[in-house]
Symmetry: D2
Subunit: 153 residues, 4 copies
């Protein structure tokens, strides 16, 4: 049986609190035996992947670059799209549901694309967009994201 | 010399007032001798393209489908991407600046992508996102979008 | 009624004979009142677009870059995809049929994609691939490409 | 350290001999502890992924669809691109080198894209294109593909 795939989206640079939350989210996703998918770069993506690897999880990075060199060191499977921001839609389509942590315009585009195609988006400290399920911490985010999958299947 | 390219983004269905604004925006873009680029489908995209054609303008539709059949009848150049929502990034990259009119999640993703890569976004009755230049009517929108180009060059 | 769209594919650099053929193909496409679509760059793409413009035709360039700066000066509508070679599939999908002139690996990928999705490919001095309709000169190529459209509709 | 990623490309349906070769290639890639990346569908893609899984390897499928449902059952990480044949360029960019087994036009497009961007392509019973390193069997293919990586690094 294929594992669940959880998207973690957020900015390439972020403050300590956001990064700590992202790392915790990564750990909890790995403990649930799901695959973590993200944009493969720094900041929230790096912290979440690091968290997942610390618990033996599997991590996938959908890179904007056309070569794998840009992936952070916690990515098991770097996917070199070469599509720049166009890769955001691939993250959203490949994830069963997503957790947005903080984030700038790139994250906003992913939130919008996810809601457009009907994927659940759990948000921590992120854009205030109708449709996002807001939570305050990593544990609630991961609980909610897996609840959304149960409702779906 | 290549013509300016103005993106018009908005939902595939919209109320009468929004559609009338979109048509007016299309007319004004054509009167400025710029190319109108949009998603090529219905609603705001159809109304804006119809407006542009009524003034002899040129219209480009970046379609989500892999064949040209889905284009509205006011599109001169249908580009069949086959990338679904992934085509939004192509609209944003190809436009010199954009006007958002109303809009749902798809439009929000385009606004976010445009602001991410530093393109000016003029908004009429659309999402309330920092970075958008808000205006109330078609004439102001088109004035502002061409002003943004002058600042750029 | 929307105009026919003819793709012209070939390498970014080519010898004089190939370039002359490409220019002639561009002229003949414009004289048939069809839109010429190509990769927007140099070599065969530049020569074909130049030919089309010399006869008042319309030219579209599907660029690999994420900005319009790379387009050759004969492109009316530069589409900045930012997808690199990923843009080849957009050329193929948007064209009603294609003419391949000379060409290297990029052209081969376009020929393969076109034949995969069932678009007619007329070839002059290009890769020897089953499925290509081979001709010797610009006039035959353009005649054959429009014949293929009649069979299709 | 990130694992090597080997692309296996071939048609969605193929004869028994081709499928057996693909399965053997998949096994040998897994035994070398590399990740197998492919188009995620049937035929050669299914056989190669099945081979890799039988040896405990990791498999990635870059799907044309916008949802993961189309992946064959031997894919650990289904990437839902929604780009149709446009996903071929992602397979090619993400692989460190590729093995082509048999194949139709889709495979030809991948061979062409790989050679265009300078990736090694080992071919078994596939298109006769200059630049392909031809071999007769699975073992030689996998030996050659890993040799190409050593030369690269």
């Amino acid at each position: 049986m294929q594992k669940k795939i959880i998207g973690v989206i957020g900015a390439g640079s972020a403050d300590e609190k956001i990064l700590k939350t992202a790392e915790e989210v990564g750990k909890l996703i790995a403990e649930r035996d799901a695959i973590l998918i993200c944009g493969g770069l720094g900041g929230v993506m790096d912290a979440a992947a690091r968290g997942a690897k610390s618990k033996g999880g599997m991590t996938v990075g959908i890179l904007p670059q056309s070569h794998r060199g840009g992936a952070n060191p916690y990515i098991d499977v770097p996917i070199a799209t070469g599509f720049g921001e166009g890769r955001n839609v691939i993250i959203v389509r490949s994830a069963d549901a997503l957790i947005a942590i903080g984030g700038e315009y790139g994250t906003l585009s992913e939130i919008a694309l996810a809601l457009k195609i009907g994927k659940a988006v759990i948000g921590i400290n992120t854009w205030d967009i109708k449709g996002i399920i807001k939570v305050d911490n990593a544990e609630d985010a991961v609980n909610k994201v897996f609840e959304s999958l149960i409702l779906d299947f």
